[in-house]
């Protein structure tokens, strides 16, 4: 659990972070979202004391971090940098082994863990002996991630971990990332300025502007209950796509036809509309079998899905 209490940081005359407070629960992923220069990185760095706040306190698992030795604190927190920051003079294997070596792990343990990670992160086996400059940008970011994950820290800070990637690669890495079992047991604070990415990965989003926190909430809350104009406008451009992502089949359950025609393997109603549409579009199926919360099943086709979604939207707008 991470808690920030009214932390502020000034650089000269710019107030980079202004009385920011939030709490990240155990195993939760909080995404800091905002435009460039709004103070996301600064906020993140105050959590592992790369930057010391001018005011306010930070607690990790209930303990004030200013009472801890900064080096010890940092070895216990995974950190993925905005600029990757791999050591150019170390091989990939050596880069991944930095923190384990600081913690005096034995060689065998480091080797086993490294093998495990490169498999999970889909890095080629032979890349271990390469130097960072011999890897593609995406591969470098995976190494950066491996380096942060290697000691399996319970807290993970990530600063635009997919920032250096093109859109196609980014989407696929995000998917892989979301599927990583290892990440599901971590308390994560992640920074991004990409709204889609935030919606894809966040349990909750912390929207920032000019050093201040504007709104904290689930993606759905941000979308349907924006606290002010800034929050509304921030999402406006990609609203429809975001709504498809946020709304689950379960949400539009009442608006779907009642009958279940097929038997067979059913999908969970936790599936969001976006993913359901993708399935319908990419597979040769014209209908999906979905089982809802109270064990009843329904089949939907593309038309029924969009219709149901629109009805749900109207209900939201008027309700």
């Amino acid at each position: 659990m991470i808690q920030l209490k009214e932390i502020s940081k000034k650089f000269g005359d710019t107030l980079a972070v202004n009385k920011a407070s939030f709490k990240v629960e155990e195993k939760e992923t909080l995404v800091l979202l905002g435009t460039s220069g709004c103070g996301k990185t600064t906020t993140l760095k105050m959590i592992n004391r790369l930057i010391e706040p001018d005011a306010g306190q930070v607690f990790i698992n209930g303990e004030n971090i200013t009472n801890q030795d900064p080096d010890v604190l940092r070895t216990g927190i995974g950190y993925v940098m905005q600029n990757i920051g791999l050591f150019p003079h170390y091989t990939v294997a050596e880069n991944i082994a930095v923190v384990p070596k600081l913690l005096k792990w034995d060689k065998e343990k480091i080797k086993v863990r490294t093998q495990e990670l490169i498999k999970k992160l889909h890095l080629p086996e032979n890349s271990l002996a390469m130097f960072p400059h011999e890897l593609s940008g995406g591969q470098q970011q995976r190494v950066g991630l491996a380096r942060a994950l290697v000691t399996d820290p319970s807290v993970l800070l990530m600063d635009e971990p997919f920032g250096a990637l093109d859109n196609v690669t980014r989407t696929s890495i995000q998917k892989e990332f979301k599927g990583l079992e290892e990440l599901k047991r971590k308390t994560i604070v992640m920074v991004t300025h990409d709204v889609q990415e935030a919606f894809e990965l966040a349990d909750r989003i912390c929207l920032m502007d000019k050093g201040k926190i504007i709104q904290i909430g689930t993606p759905k809350e941000l979308l349907y209950q924006p606290v002010n104009d800034f929050a509304r406008k921030f999402l406006a451009g990609q609203r429809l796509a975001l709504e498809f992502k946020v709304v689950k089949i379960q949400d539009i359950w009442p608006y779907l036809p009642k009958r279940a025609l097929q038997d067979g393997k059913s999908l969970s109603a936790d599936l969001n509309v976006w993913d359901a549409m993708e399935l319908l579009r990419s597979s040769d199926r014209s209908e999906l079998l979905v089982s809802g919360a109270n064990k009843d099943s329904k089949t939907v086709n593309f038309e029924q899905l969009t219709k149901g979604f629109n009805q749900f939207q109207n209900a939201q707008a008027h309700g």
Partner: protein, 527 residues
């Protein structure tokens, strides 16, 4: 021309072959000197560079001081060292170290601050301590730049180390400056060529190290300190004294019959000897760094540093006249020159010259002042006529007496003729001065008949020996030979006799009861 070249190269080869022991020893000393000082420079410069990379505010001051130190002329720096560190290895190493410092500090500093800030931040973010960041990240990444600095420092050191011979620290400078003093081109080249090769080879080797990738570099860096230490070890500090007393002789004295060669052959003197420049020799004797030195009988520093001349009881140091030598061409061009220069003939006796030297060397009056006072007191001084009838160019060697004489001649010419004067004083050794005369860069300079005979003419040893004890015979001989060989005329002798002399501190001479060179030999044999 080709034939000439061939001959030349062959004799150089012969010289090197003949002197291979010395050459080998000097080269080792040179390498040793270079690397010992390099080692110290790294030991000091690297931490300083790291310090100022951490505390940037200090960088201006530290780099400024190192920069200023590097602009101090090397000879001056060596001179400053003597009162503090004496002569020999210590001051030479310190002086070299000072020159090597700037490139090492500067490159360590720029190497470290040039590292990508994100890499440093990553190191911090992963929980590395300051010292771990330094050792595992900053130094390895800055290493190519630091090595470039070490490479520069090494090349500088090879060059400056040639000057170490001035203060008896050995090295290839012994041949180079000995050759200059003794008019021996082969000797100069025997020192200069290895020194240049050394610089080129070390530069190339270090550039290879610099270009290695990180993995190889890691290994190379483990070996490098060992190599530097080993090479530094070549410079066995001259502690293996062969005798209880130490002599310091000039390179010129070392190679002359009326010098070290004579001391060995006639007296059988066996003394631990180091080669040192005339400029620092007296001071070194005074501060007990040296016990016996080769000086000039008229030198003012004799009195200034309370030294005593040991009696030359087997007379191997014949007295010689001093007289201006002039190019015949110049005598034609300036018809009044000869009679003007001869105004001084016979005017300066031994004791007068010693006194004049004392005034510059001990009382620290300027040579100009001393010259003027003397000319006024003898009624020779005339106010300058400020004529414009051509320029007479005067040369002088790089020691006190010659400066005074050059000033006197300058005043005499200005006062008695319509010629203008330009002086080129402080021309290194005999060879430099004489070559300047031969190449029409100066018109005359004061020379000694002994030097003319033994260094410039280098006649058959038999002829030299015949002449050695008769100063007039010597004068006649060089007079005719110079005319024949060089078209250079010896004007009338100035009066004083100059000769080499062995000197000791007054007190030591009394304590050891050593008054003659034979006494010295006996003392050395007994102890």
């Amino acid at each position: 021309m080709r034939r000439h070249m061939d001959e030349h190269q062959q004799t150089l080869w012969q010289f090197m072959h003949e002197q291979s022991d010395k050459l080998f020893a000097q080269t080792l000393q040179h390498v040793g000197l270079t690397f010992i000082s390099l080692l110290f420079a790294i030991a000091i410069g690297l931490p300083l560079g790291i310090l100022i990379a951490r505390k940037r505010k200090l960088s201006g001051t530290v780099l400024g001081i190192a920069g200023v130190l590097q602009t101090v002329p090397s000879i001056a720096l060596l001179g400053f060292m003597i009162p503090i560190l004496g002569i020999g290895a210590k001051p030479a190493i310190v002086a070299l170290l000072i020159y090597a410092l700037l490139p090492i500090i500067r490159n360590t500093y720029t190497g470290i601050i040039g590292i990508d800030q994100y890499v440093k931040e990553a190191a911090r973010a992963m929980g590395m301590s300051q010292s771990q960041i330094l050792l595992k990240v900053e130094l390895p990444l800055a290493m190519p730049v630091i090595l470039a600095g070490i490479r520069t420092a090494t090349v500088i050191n090879v060059g400056v180390a040639t000057l170490a011979s001035f203060i008896a620290a050995g090295g290839l400078g012994e041949f180079i400056f000995g050759g200059i003093s003794l008019n021996n081109t082969n000797m100069i080249l025997a020192g200069a060529i290895p020194a240049a090769l050394l610089a080129i080879i070390l530069d190339a080797l270090l550039s290879l190290v610099q270009k290695m990738d990180f993995k190889k570099l890691k290994k190379a860096l483990c070996i490098l300190p060992v190599v530097i230490l080993m090479l530094g070890g070549f410079y066995a500090l001259p502690s293996a004294y062969g005798s209880t007393l130490t002599a310091g002789f000039t390179p010129e004295f070392m190679g002359r019959q009326d010098g070290d060669l004579g001391l060995k052959s006639t007296y059988g003197l066996k003394i631990h000897t180091i080669v040192i420049s005339d400029a620092v020799m007296y001071k070194a004797a005074f501060s007990k760094e040296l016990d016996v030195i080769s000086g000039y009988s008229t030198d003012g520093r004799l009195k200034a540093f309370d030294l005593k001349i040991l009696k030359d009881d087997k007379s191997i140091f014949p007295p010689y006249y001093a007289a201006p030598i002039v190019r015949d061409e110049a005598l034609k061009q300036f018809p009044q020159l000869a009679e003007t220069l001869n105004l001084l003939a016979g005017k300066i006796t031994d004791s007068v010259m010693t006194d004049l030297n004392y005034r510059t060397d001990y009382l620290h009056l300027t040579p100009e002042r001393v010259a003027k006072d003397f000319l006024i007191s003898t009624g020779l001084y005339k106010a300058p006529k400020n004529g414009h009838n051509g320029v007479v160019r005067i040369g002088s060697k790089i020691f006190g007496e010659q400066y005074i004489l050059a000033e006197m001649y300058s005043m005499l010419i200005k006062g008695n003729t319509d010629y203008e004067v330009s002086t080129k004083t402080g021309l290194g050794g005999t060879k430099i001065c004489f070559d300047a005369l031969m190449n029409d860069q100066i018109d005359f300079y004061p020379e000694y008949t002994g030097t003319g005979l033994l260094v410039l003419l280098q006649p058959d040893p038999k002829i030299a020996k015949e002449m050695a004890h008769d100063k007039d015979k010597t004068y006649d001989y060089v007079y005719t030979e110079f005319e024949k060989k060089f078209n250079i005329k010896w004007l009338k002798p100035i009066g004083f006799n100059n000769s080499y002399a062995l000197m000791m501190r007054q007190k030591q001479s009394k304590d050891l009861n050593v008054n003659t060179i034979t006494d010295l030999k006996n003392y050395l044999d007994k102890n």
